[in-house]
Amino acid sequence: MNAIESASLRLYWPAQRQRNRGAGGLLIVVAAFLALYAYLFPGLLSVGGVAKFAQSWLPLAMVSMAQAILMLAGGVSLAIGAMVSLGAVIAATTMAGPLGVAGGAALVMIAGLGVGAACGVIVVRLGLPAIVVTLAASFIVGGAALLILPRPGGTIPAWLSDLLAGDKPVAAWLVIAVVVFWKLYLATPLGLSLYAAGENPDAAYRAGVPVDAARILAYAVSGLLATCAGLFVAAKTGSGDPVIGEAFTLNSIAAAVLGGVGFLGGKGAMRGALAGSLLLSVMINVMYFLGFPPVAHYIAQGLIIIGAVALPEFSARRRAL
């Protein structure tokens, strides 16, 4: 091992520990909820059970990653939900037509990358606030989705729905595939620059990090993840709905914040956002099986979210003392 490698290793683990701070406590909470869910519903521990649960979780996992990338890069997106709707309606209007599944999927990806990159260019190059740009984008993209499909409809070929959202745990494999994709992205020069560009763009720029390019790419990848989540939602439901994504905007922010991803850029890790989305998703099922009435759902949801954020915070303070 040469000196540079050992030096980078010496830096690697403390950096990882720093990123894990906040996620550690959350992972315990998530594990506890998963265990409780499996106890209340033993059918979870079957191939079919894992398949169905992964299908519920995957779209939220993808949009949480889409949000977390931007937050790591020092941005945020209020257009995630509209992008999911756009992906869903493009898939539902093209895949059963002459373009076929491959053509439709390509269009979904192009739309995600294109709209994401456009937002990125406006935010980064024109220096406009991300929250304003993406709010405007949410209206434009949401309107475009309604133009493509004015009311719920369209079709996804049945075989694709059965493949992605049938009794086989394909969705669970897709979660793993998306994580591998994220690791590969982080290994690219621009992916590597993401944290630096988000945490301290000025210092990163002086150190020769391609800050603008890294941030624009983050917006493009975020858009790609959001429209692909839309494609999956369309496949899961067998159809398109122009407003299906609305709830994903807030839920993606909630999942990322739960996972310890900060609003100021460069703080947190993707595994935290994934764990946050898993908690939000499993919580719905656990509360159902506990037999809570809907009003209690609202209260319990709030308490769990506060608890999941507060616990790691408290334990971190105690460690610091």
Binding site: S56, R151, P152, G153, P242, A247, I284, Y288, P294, V295
Partner: protein
Amino acid sequence: MMKSSLSALSAACLGLFLGLLACVAMPSEAAAAAKCIKGDRKPPFTIGWADIYSVPTWMKETQGTIEKEVDELKKQGLVSKLVVTDAQGDANTQIQQIQSMIDSNVDAIILIAGSSTAPGRVIADACAKGIAVINFDSLVDTDEVTAKINTDSAQWGASAAKFLVDAIGGKGKILVLNGPAGISVSDDRRKGAEPVLKANPNVTILAETNTAYNVAPAQEAVTNLLFAHPDIDGILSLGGALSAGAVLAFDKQGRAQVPITGENARQFLELWKAKNLKAWATMQPNWLGAFATYAAVQALSGKDVPAFVKIPLPVIDNSNIDQYLAKAKDFPADGYIYSPYDQKLFDELLAQK
């Protein structure tokens, strides 16, 4: 010439034959149990109520009728438990909650769909497992349900448009107030109004709005339009509390009220009476929820239930508005004054073909 008439004759014969075949097949189908029912579920039943959004008053009142019906059926030993979920307006969450209902093996699922397409596959799964699925109010497109229960949204829109066109004498400038964009009920009512509006070219649409079915957003939208349009002859309001919002907007701006359509929202009916409006309303009865519960238990008990139960739309006008307002105090101030219901009415509705 000869040949074509011969083929027409043979086609007619074939048609007749197929028709007879259908007639023969029909009764045996009707005698069988309702769709999705396998006959392996025994009372008392667990009912799952997959609510899309529990907060709006209309939904709370609907849930009230469901709970009342469940209490009634519990007394008869037919129902053991009511499980309620609230998707908080998100169709994805609703799908997840319906999946949990399937996982916990409820006997029946009644639902107001958050999307006409999205829950299609999970509902078909429930149906395949022998769970009675009764869908009311906001309907799904799939036919893999035991029964769908609703009023006719297209007729709703057409009747409202007819009243308004007549009320303004067949010509004038109107506003159209719609529910949210991309929602089937809202879209269907608007589509139903379209042919009537098309047939009356002297009626001009100044502007259309899309808002949630609540007073405040409708009032705000109409207020904005009032500044832009000095002459408005009528309001085609397609439901919920939109009409009350419009009347309040006219009132606050000191504009003379114009003919308006609407629904049985208490606030609207009270404003109508107080301001002596020229108005028309109909009703999406809250007891659709109670009726869906009743129909689910009937289907599970082996009775046949029609695949679609069309609920007649009543007309509320100056001749009978007092009957509705007489009961107003029994309903929330921002609620809907629905007509009375009982088991006899439900049995009649289920018996209609």
